[in-house]
Assembly symmetry: C2
Homo-oligomer: 169 residues x 2
């Protein structure tokens, strides 16, 4: 059974505990390692630590699946041109909630629970983990809004072992 | 001066160090606290720890600004209906790269560096931090794709002190 939703009081108490050992003040808005990570919203994953990067090193863009959506591209383009990043690392993971499901399944669940029509939403499910990484790496490499020499690498992540594996594209 | 972009070898070495103390195996795909956090890609911020939450507790959706975009809603709706979250916490932060800039400024920078036309991209800059939180909380509360009783709270975050402050909406 899951635990209950955090209350406002609990969030404020949790934040007070967090501040007792807070050591990240005074960092610059420009990511120190000039890189952005595009990855999934999954609760089991922590992006910068998994690459051995420190706080302040990399922008972190996260959505369902870690997909190269229009909004992820908005964020990455801003990251590059306003905040100096020169590359992006795409990471999709094993046991993802989007793996092996379909738009029809998700849309039916939404309509059953709310009565609302979700037929216009593409939830971007996928059946092949490495192929979804390749697809998103290719999308970013083909985007003309990034600076010359912008580097895009792709990886898969194993939520049970913490292992990153490069994906050749 | 920033440090250079991480190389593939450096990423793999960093990941090997990360795995030496990896303790997050075996967690469930459903976030244990039934909540999602929508926040900015800023490199200085770590979402779950700042609320006193443990790994595996909350989905984390991040984009430039932490804005309630169509893609953030895709992720949150999936989080709610496929993975059991019942609420969302919107967090925008002080010293954000999107604060006090304009679409014209960002589009000019993109075109100057690449020659490409970015006029169709709304980068979602903002001039008032609390108001941008309110706007996005209202957008999510008005969205008919979330389950009945879906809770949305808003906060600002101070990157130099680690403090979360509730925003009344």
């Amino acid at each position: 059974m899951p635990d209950p939703l955090p209350t406002l009081d609990e969030i404020l108490q949790g934040n007070a505990r967090f501040r007792e050992s807070f050591a990240w003040g005074g960092l610059d808005v420009h990511p120190r390692r000039q890189v952005a990570i595009l990855t999934c919203m999954d609760s089991r994953y922590a992006a910068q630590p998994s690459l051995g990067l420190d706080q302040g090193n990399a922008h972190v863009i996260r959505n369902a699946g870690g997909r190269a959506t229009e909004d992820a591209i908005r964020s990455l383009v801003l990251s590059a041109h306003a905040l100096g990043t020169r590359g992006c690392i795409v990471i999709h993971h094993k046991k993802c909630g989007l793996y092996g499901t379909t738009n029809d399944d998700i849309r039916s669940a939404v309509t059953e629970a709310t009565g609302a029509d979700a037929s216009s939403v593409d939830f971007l499910p996928f059946d092949d983990l490495e192929e979804s990484v390749r697809e998103d790496v290719r999308t970013l490499r083909a985007c003309e809004l990034f600076p010359a020499g912008y580097a895009v690498l792709g990886f898969t992540y194993d939520v049970d072992t913490g292992e990153l594996a490069p994906v050749e594209v």
